[in-house]
Symmetry: C2
Subunit: 153 residues, 2 copies
Amino acid sequence: MPPSVAIRCFVTIETVTFADTASSRLELIGFRSTAPRRAVLNAIGNAPGPFTVEDLLSEVPGVGRATVFRTIKLLLELDMMCRVPLEDGTARYQVSEGDHHHHLVCRTCGSLTEFNDPEIDARIAEQARTRGFALQGHSLELYGLCQSCRRTA
Amino acid sequence: MPPSVAIRCFVTIETVTFADTASSRLELIGFRSTAPRRAVLNAIGNAPGPFTVEDLLSEVPGVGRATVFRTIKLLLELDMMCRVPLEDGTARYQVSEGDHHHHLVCRTCGSLTEFNDPEIDARIAEQARTRGFALQGHSLELYGLCQSCRRTA
DNA sequence: ATTTATGCAAAATCTTTGCATCAAC
DNA sequence: GTTGATGCAAAGATTTTGCATAAAT
């Protein structure tokens, strides 16, 4: 009988959170990892959906307003989060799922769905080119009723 | 010699101003034509380009802030003016030239150029349809440098 | 006469800033 | 020990509201 060998394999499934990723990226470019900052990043990462600044403020009771505003600004500048303008002039924030994208904004429940459309992007680039406009960015939001609100209505 | 007939023809070229048009439309739906309101409509009609609420306020010194805000809101609701959201969260206002349209927003000089693209609109409708989204409106802004700012830069 | 619109000033929002203190590196 | 980050509260900026008065129909 040949000798047997026991092989035990540990597989750790690590969920890399938004807070972790963001924190690392911030540290890389010289920002410090502080408790208040991490708290804000966690709150953002755990948000169940699009949120307002007010929402975020109430999720991090110990943290000062200024810090929350400063953190949001930081993440926006680094494209780690996106700001979605609503029709009433207010905005919602959300962690960007992919790269560049557009949004479907539900007027009833406020849900935000990201989507991409290379054809639209191409036409946009073309329109800019035609007009001698040096395109640097764009923003596209669709407003209406999401699938479930539509059924309810 | 046959009798002659003099025919004199008066042609009046009337420039119908924005203020006139808007005022009439407002009266038609039951709003009153008041001096402050007309002043605001005139200022809007005479604006050399996109303007902020602040710009408008300073153009109608005698008129109260509330009236200016209320008039803007009214015109937006009636689609007689459009609100263009900028990247910094502020907005500019402009009399809509055509029907539905999109905007090229110059990051340097702030100029706003309207454009249309049926193909983009079609793709947008298609994207909504695919997702079971009842599309009711959309907003598309392109950010970058306009032709002249681009040359200067 | 009715009823809408106005102006004012206060209130309500929303965001930024100055600065002393605290914490990270 | 340096330097960046924080919290607080005050200041700014922006928009809305209540209400007595004025003006339009």
